[in-house]
């Protein structure tokens, strides 16, 4: 399906399958269309009617269903809790607005709400108002509210975007743990690749309205399908060079217009005192930081661009360097991309 807003294409011919019971992340920079896609699944937006766009839950089409019939649980980035209702009333809302025939009895509602409060570990806040809660608490209540209606799909729109760094990390782990407990098919949108890698079973990397790659965190990290994916997930160093005698050369003198780019992760670079047999990139050591799980070395390449290398402590002990030293970097695992981001093979 596609989605355009006037002249702006938010989604460009997307086709996607989400496995049941899994926690899938839609990952991408802002403008990639991930939130638009999520809202279309929820029914809060509609795709362009011209295409053959359809949405199916478990094989059953829901494209024509309005949002209040789809039984999706939506968690908003800014919580969207009903400000004039208590926490209890917020969570009970979905149950109270059910049509007469389906509506549970008062006592049953109360039981369900308390069970959910227990699940999110906030039982003592039942009578508080949203304004009296912290950001992290509000988001957990929003989640409980969405779960109250036993949704077929749980959709989370940058759920931790509005929270402090530390609360974000805590809640991330908590969400993963929750999912392991209740196993509802979940899709969450984020621009934080660390979050996606840590939390999701499956990641869908999006860019400019298109899907770049779908796979497990391991797959997208170790085998990025495109330059964009490699750059977006995890740290990466970019070396600009050109092809000379059918071999890529990175002397450090090439201008930015040099036709090829070598992408190497910080832990895939070896630091050598002398040029090695394969690709060797000259660089000067700028800083060495040994306080941490890994030794981090910052270097400047021929064009004074920053290069980051990570080595385990044992390795560093046998071959330490000091600031100002001229060294040579040898990539172990790397990927070469050409002018139009096409993948190039090369021989070391």
């Amino acid at each position: 399906m596609s989605k355009t807003f006037g002249a702006y294409t938010a989604l460009d011919d997307i086709s996607l399958e989400i496995p049941s019971g899994e926690l899938t992340a839609l990952l991408g920079p802002s403008g990639s269309g991930k939130t638009t896609l999520l809202r279309i699944v929820a029914g809060l937006e509609t795709a362009d009617p011209d295409g053959s766009g359809r949405i199916l839950f478990d094989g059953a089409p829901v494209t024509e269903s309005p949002v209040n019939r789809r039984r999706v649980g939506f968690v908003f980035q800014h919580y969207a809790l009903f400000r004039h209702m208590t926490v209890f009333e917020n969570i009970a809302f979905g149950l109270r607005v059910k049509p007469r025939g389906e509506r549970p009895l008062r006592d049953e509602i109360r039981e369900r709400v308390h069970a959910l409060l227990k699940l999110v570990q906030l039982e003592q806040l039942a009578q508080r108002y949203p304004s009296q809660l912290s950001g992290g608490q509000r988001q957990r209540i929003a989640l409980a509210r969405a779960l109250a209606i036993q949704p077929r799909v749980l959709l989370l729109d940058e759920p931790f975007g509005a929270l402090d760094a530390q609360v974000r990390t805590e809640l991330r782990r908590w969400l993963r743990h929750l999912h392991d407990t209740i196993h509802v098919t979940s899709i969450f949108v984020t621009h934080d690749q660390e979050e996606a890698l840590e939390v999701a079973d499956r990641i869908v990397v999006m860019n400019k309205g298109r899907i770049e790659q779908t796979g497990t965190p391991d797959e997208v990290f170790q085998n990025p399908a495109s330059e964009f994916v490699m750059k977006f997930l995890g740290d990466v160093n970019v070396f600009h060079g050109r092809v000379h005698n059918e071999r890529p050369v990175f002397t450090g003198d090439s201008s930015e217009d040099g036709s090829v780019r070598l992408l190497v992760r910080p832990h895939d670079l070896a630091v050598l005192p002398q040029p090695g047999p394969g690709i060797s990139i000259p660089a000067r050591v700028y800083r060495v930081m040994t306080a941490g799980a890994l030794v981090k070395i910052e270097l400047l390449d021929g064009q004074n661009r920053l290069v980051q290398v990570q080595v385990p402590h044992e390795t560093y002990r046998t071959a330490s360097v000091h600031a100002g030293q001229q060294v040579y970097l040898a990539p172990k695992e790397s990927r070469l991309y050409g002018q139009s981001s096409e993948r190039l093979e090369y021989v070391i």
Binding site: A42, G43, L44, P66, V67, N68, R69, R71, V72, G73, F74, F76, H78, A80, L81, F82, R83, H84, M85, F93, G94, V97, K98, Y129, P130, S131, R145, A146, A148, I149
Partner: protein
Amino acid sequence: MNGEERQALSWGNLALSVTAVAIVGTVIVLPLLVVLKEAFAAGFGVWAASVTDPDARAAVALTLGVTVVVVPLNTLFGVAAAWAIAKFRFTGRSLLLSLVDLPFAVSPVVAGLIFILLFGRHGWLGGWLDARDVQVVFAVPGVLLATLFVTFPFVARELIPLMTEQGTEEEEAALSLGATGWQTFRRVTLPNIKWGLLYGIILCNARAMGEFGAVSVVSGHIRGETNTLPLHVEVLYNEYRFTAAFACASLLAGLAMVTLIVKTVVERQAARQTARGGET
């Protein structure tokens, strides 16, 4: 801030306070006091007689009758307009917004005039109405329409910025949880706007009861039939029956004071709700 500056500041504060109180006192409060003084100048008995006079009672009845029709109607329109304008994006939205505000910019006399031009004997629909022996101007329907026109924007003007600021997220959340449109409006939107709505209704009410210019043009001043209370005051005044005029005016002044009190209470409650509701 040393002692000298503090002293200067408090002298400045005193001067400011005295000036401001004097301004408000003379410009605003004094006229109100005059009404009360003149109303009771001849004693309570005369006052009571003036306000229970059959013509006065008819005037009160008409004022109340008009208000009871106009305020609910304009509340309905205001809510509808605010819902459409605040919660949706569409071409012509700002035009609609300006049009809703339009009656505000029209002088009351002009407001009365346009209904005469429309429904009067020589007006657009005048011939049509005459043929059916329907009287709009110089009769109660005219008074109703003129009041409706003049008070049209009050509720909408209060609700539109409020609902725009509140956004659509809570409504979307309610829908995603399975609520129907009416359930969403009743359970989510309405509680969030209740103070703004009340505020708008109070202002609408005060204006509806007190409208003078527009109604004066349209009503024909038919004593006992098409005189609202403000018009009755004018009639008495023009007949030099000053005490009676002020007696009836004191009823309206009383209404104004009640309006102010209710308005203040509503404002305070709304502020409290905002403080409790916190940010979005």
